[in-house]
Amino acid sequence: MESTSTPERILRGIALTLVILFFMFPIFWIFMMSFQTNETILQIPPSLSFTPTLSNYMALITGKLTTAAGTLDIAFMGNLGNSVFLSTASVAVSLLLGVPAAYAFARHKFRGSEDIAFTLLSFRFAPPLLVLLPLTQYFQWLGLSDTYIGLIWVYQLICLPLILWIVRGYFEDISADVEYAYRIAGHSWFATFRKIALPLAGPGIAAAGLLAFIFAWNNFVFALVLASASKQPVTVGALAFVTSSGIQYGQIAAAIVLSIAPTLALALYAQRYLVEGLSLGAVKG
């Protein structure tokens, strides 16, 4: 890397700028929109000259939305809370179940291990609608419809396979000898798992957890069909701004900004793990 020539550095710079432009511009635009009302958002041609207003955020936070057809109650903050709770709980359950399983698949080649692993993965690629529709009926019978437990259970379809397969890779990358050494030093398999495998795969687990969190956070269809208004996450709830008297783009933009915030904060906090620590050089070195 040190020997990169100047033209190459310039090319890389241009490429990176283009990438940042493409991926960040819509974000920037949404961010700008969140400070505008529909009146300035819906200009022809679009323009950046506007007087910023906090009304969108106020509406979201106070739960009162003023539209052409009067004032509406919205439950955005409640939705946000649901999203945080559902995603966190789902990922927590997935980690609790998935990490030991990933460890088993990585360390023990047991009878049927690949079959079980594949079956678990296959839950991820079952089309959500396929299971979702009959599931509504079963949930009805089981009394699980419109419960957090039911939702968290279904969210395992999204989180668990992802965590399982990513974490499994990280466990496999840990030298088996390191774990053997700890076992031989007189520690039980559980102590070895806790003191050696978990810390060493920690960055991978954090990264997989964050990705699973994002996917759970972004889920739409499960939440829509299985949750009532009181348990709705942001993804479904934000559609409330698509009112019959017009789409409240400003509020949707503000809702997006607010809904990115927790995940982004988490990602920034876990940055070390996510990109720096994620590399297993530390383990192999």
Binding site: A68, A69, G70
Partner: protein, 480 residues
């Protein structure tokens, strides 16, 4: 307290004093509008209670599934009145319109007993009814023990009321004698023209008289006024594209979606010569003066564009135009309304209608109590509250349309709305043939329209293909 006022309001509610006299009288007594409102609510509760045992189900609890809509908001705003009146507790889930019907389907198809009543459109009951998810309400409407004497079922606009009744036979006539009342109309939409007065004046055009006129007016508007397009129309791949302006104009030419044979078999009727001619014109209208990305247009984009001044007119629901004339829309106050008859030979407009209605879930645990809610929510008192205090347009009760306060409100802020309504109300009804494949037919119809607009297929050929495909599906389902 306020004995005189109570007498006056009581007289109004008993029909002895008209509304204007009431307000005058209250004004004379020194009541402010606000306190009059409170008193009014209190008194209406008393008036309702007078002749009917509203407390029969006191202590029970109901749950509603509602669409995020001004009608639902109006009801929620008035819900306390119902609770006070009956002692029934009511909770509700509100879902955004984009996903509302999917949520209803999910809840009902799983046999969920969570919801007792829900909002629906008449088209949907063609699925829900035969599926056994909703209850025929005739039994309750006709039972004097269960329905309060002031309910006035006859007060409902006949065309609207009948559009919510179907005998369940594919192709069966709506509102026939053996029809089941699957839902109670709440408020409805006629599909007519809402236009931007300023733009029409600027371009020097008048309200289009028929489809050919519409084509040229829209084109002229688009040419003369920069940055706008002529006419807002829905175009997404959905039934919602077919049912507003498009079908209203179509029906004006006496064209049908399906033909019903003597033995009750259905067949596609979109490939007649008349239909092809209308399709050609409509496609031309979209191509020349419709929104550039028409094929993604739903209710929202059509409304947003009109409100933001990006389109000069819409051929869509009158209440969409109504909403866009208020709030923080840029064009608020600049919109006007007009009935539209696409067929030059037609005497009047024949709009297809969308009816927001209330239906009772067949899985409800207490249907009698649920009916109490339904009759209150569709009753004359709430209808008046909604129409005068909230945005409950278009009301389904004839008495509301006669109400001076309501007509005045429309005439001051919504020019032409009342005339538009009066001109087309007689011809307003559901123009679709009721049958369980409604959504298959309309979705495919919309997709075909999209192909024709994109010039992927000529109109003739497209319609023949459509008819062929629909006939095949009808046969497959045992209907054709």
């Amino acid at each position: 307290m306020h004995e005189k006022e109570k007498d006056l309001i009581g007289a109004f509610l008993r029909g002895q004093v008209d509304r204007r006299a009431l307000l005058k009288g209250l004004g004379a007594l020194g009541m402010t509008a606000g306190s009059a409102g409170t008193l009014f609510n209190m008194m209406s509760t008393q008036a309702l209670a007078a002749d009917f045992d509203w407390k029969a189900h006191s202590g029970k609890s109901l749950k509603l599934l509602l669409n995020k809509h001004p009608y639902a908001d109006a009801m929620i705003a008035n819900l306390q009145t119902f609770k006070d009146l009956t002692g029934i507790n009511v909770t509700y889930d509100v879902f955004p319109e984009d996903v509302y019907f999917d949520k209803v389907t999910a809840a009902l198809s799983s046999g969920s007993s969570e919801y007792d009543a829900f909002m629906t459109g008449a088209y949907m009951t063609w699925t829900y009814g035969p599926a056994g998810w909703i209850t025929d309400l005739k039994e309750w409407i006709n039972d004097p023990a269960k329905t309060n004497p002031n309910y006035a079922w006859d007060d409902f606009l006949p065309g609207v009321k009948n559009s919510c009744a179907w005998n369940g036979r594919p192709g069966g006539e709506l509102g026939s004698d053996d029809a089941k009342q699957w839902c109670i109309p709440w408020a409805f939409e006629q599909n007519n023209i809402t236009y931007n007065r300023e733009m029409f004046d600027k371009a020097g055009v008048g309200v289009p008289k028929n489809i050919d006129d519409m084509i040229s007016v829209a084109a002229k508007l688009q040419k003369d006024i920069s940055g706008i397009y002529g006419i807002g129309l829905r175009g997404s791949r959905s039934w919602a594209t077919i049912h507003p302006g498009f079908l209203s104009g179509y029906a004006n030419f006496n064209e049908k979606d399906l033909a019903v044979s003597a033995d009750g078999k259905l067949s596609a009727a979109m490939n007649t010569a008349g239909s092809k001619a209308y399709h050609s014109k409509f496609v031309q209208l979209i191509q020349e003066s419709g929104p550039k990305d028409w094929s993604t247009y739903t209710w929202y984009q059509v409304g947003t564009d009109l409100g933001a001044g990006a389109s000069a007119m819409i051929f869509d629901a009158d209440c969409l135009g109504y909403f866009m004339n208020g709030g923080d829309n840029k064009m608020a106050g600049k919109l006007s309304y007009a009935a539209f008859a696409a067929n030059p030979e037609a005497t009047a407009s024949t709009p297809n209608i969308w009816i927001w209605s209330l239906a009772m879930s067949n899985f409800s645990k207490d249907k009698d109590a649920t009916w109490y809610f339904l009759q209150w929510a569709s009753g004359p008192e709430h209808a008046l509250f909604g129409a005068t205090k909230m945005d409950f347009v278009d009301p389904v009760r004839q008495s509301i349309w006669k109400d001076e306060v309501f007509r005045n409100k429309l005439n001051t802020s919504y020019p032409g709305f009342v005339e538009m309504f009066d001109a087309s109300a007689a011809g307003a009804s559901i123009k679709f043939t009721p049958q369980p494949l409604f959504f298959d037919v309309t979705t495919e119809w919309a997709a075909t329209l999209q192909k024709m607009v994109a010039k992927e297929v000529p109109v003739d050929e497209g319609l023949d293909q459509l008819a062929e495909s629909i006939n095949r599906q009808l046969k497959e389902a045992g209907l054709g």
